[in-house]
């Protein structure tokens, strides 16, 4: 691959940051063009030859990646102003110079690397799983209708990439909002027949501070999600579920599931 010489180059502008909370600077790079390149292959070239467009030696740019096929979500960054996965961002489809920035809604670890812990903590808070552990065999759970399974599959595609969090004007380091992705997961697990046995616990979690009510309906999340998850429909559906739960909590005989 390295030997392919097209004679063309790709221009990049990368926002660099050496340490957490450290100062930022923009560095320009020019890397040899190869057909079918994605942003990560350009970053890999810079990793091997950490020299700026002006010929200055610099440190290699750091970023996260894992699957390289848009399923893990690790490589998300802001490319030409839009948060997206760098592994599936093709150079041919981007205007140059390609500007790379970290998703600043999260703490920046270094360069394009961010710490998405906040999202994972939110998933724990809302209990985004189906609890099946017990001291004895609990047997089979209730069956899930096939049509429902197919629909729920769409919600399960979330890869906690953080793009919807970056797009949301109400998610930031200075605000407590947990963001769209963990909310939609509540809808997913409350739909699951076994998961629904704990649906009141999940609703209680999103009715807590930093929860569902922080959504301001900008609907950026649904426009940005690379997996096409109907986030705003999930949020509206949860709004209805929590409205009902709110009245149940107050007027009902107890706070349990039904």
């Amino acid at each position: 691959m390295e030997t392919v010489n097209t004679g063309r180059t790709v221009k990049l502008e990368i926002v660099r940051q050496d340490t957490e909370n450290g100062s930022t600077r923009v560095e320009k790079f020019e890397v040899p063009y190869r057909p079918g390149m994605n942003v990560i292959s350009a970053l890999m070239h810079i990793q091997k030859y950490p020299v700026t467009a002006e010929g200055q030696n610099t440190t290699p740019v750091s970023w996260d990646m894992s699957c390289l096929e848009e399923v893990c979500g690790a490589c998300s960054m802001v490319i030409n102003g839009r948060p997206q996965q760098s592994c599936s961002a093709l150079v041919d489809k981007l205007t140059q110079p390609i500007r790379l920035e970290p998703m600043k809604t999260f703490p920046v670890v270094r360069d394009l690397q961010v710490d998405r812990s906040r999202m994972f903590n939110a998933l724990k808070k809302v209990k985004a799983w189906v609890p099946i552990d017990g001291t004895y065999d609990l047997g089979e759970g209730p069956r899930m209708p096939e049509r429902k399974r197919q629909w729920a599959y769409e919600l399960s595609k979330c890869m906690t990439c953080g793009v919807c969090m970056e797009a949301c004007p109400n998610v930031s380091e200075s605000a407590s909002f947990m963001g769209p992705a963990p909310l939609s997961q509540v809808r997913l697990f409350n739909t699951h027949p076994t998961g629904a046995m704990n649906k009141d616990e999940r609703l209680a979690a999103i009715m807590g501070d930093g929860g569902l009510a922080n959504c301001g309906n900008s609907q950026n999340c649904v426009a940005a999600c690379p997996k096409g998850i109907p986030l705003t429909t999930s949020i509206a559906a949860l709004n209805r579920a929590t409205t009902v739960q709110m009245f149940k909590n107050f007027f009902g005989s107890d706070h349990m599931v039904d």
Partner: protein, 204 residues
């Protein structure tokens, strides 16, 4: 605010925006609209308010207007300042509505405070609120402009607020219902705006 009460505060904020504050705005603009029929028609309509016993009117003002409005406004300012607007990067219709809801809210704090000072506070000092008072205010073109922007901010904020109220309470969930709600609230905006602006121009 105590822990884990945010959900209730937010729902209260949302509810108060419609009942009573939104309803009051619709009533207020309707009453002002009588100015289009001339000075006499306006003075008769507003004079009706004088039929309500003074102490009852004062209690109603506080319960229906000032307290709910202050809660909605101050909590609204807090909500508006926790947002990081990004219409440059995401210039979709809904994101613009999101930003405008916040801008108009902040502007309304200034406008409503000024408006109450110019009318209600003056009344407390013994001035009479009638056609002439408003005519005097809007004789100044700067004030007229300020009032028109204020009225449009209020009608926009209420109409778009109704749209998000429907989502916040889980009434409109599907894309289609939300789209239709957009058209209906747009109509609400147009009707209230025409009424409001026609009314203020009637004083000129």
């Amino acid at each position: 605010m105590s822990k884990d009460r945010e959900f209730l505060w937010r729902r209260l904020h949302s509810l108060l925006g419609v009942v009573p504050v939104g309803l009051f705005l619709a009533f207020h603009l309707s009453l002002n609209f009588t100015a289009v029929g001339g000075e006499e028609s306006y003075n008769t309509a507003t004079g009706m308010m004088e039929l309500v016993p003074h102490s009852l009117l004062l209690a109603m003002e506080w319960i229906i207007i000032y307290i709910p409005l202050m809660f909605h406004a101050f909590y609204g300012v807090y909500i508006a300042f926790t947002a990081t607007n990004n219409v440059k990067r995401f210039s979709t219709f809904r994101n613009w509505m999101f930003a405008l809801q916040r801008f108009t809210g902040i502007f309304l704090v200034i406008f409503i405070a000024w408006h109450i000072f110019q009318t209600r506070v003056q009344k407390a000092f013994g001035e009479e609120v009638n056609f002439d008072m408003m005519a005097e205010i809007v004789a100044n073109p700067v004030m007229l402009g300020f009032y028109i922007v204020g009225i449009l901010s209020a009608t926009f904020h209420l109409a778009n607020g109704l749209w998000s109220f429907l989502v916040s309470w889980g009434i409109t969930q599907s894309k289609k219902s939300q789209q239709i709600a957009t058209y209906i609230t747009l109509l609400v905006f147009v009707i209230l705006s025409i009424m409001g602006v026609a009314a203020i121009l009637a004083f000129v």
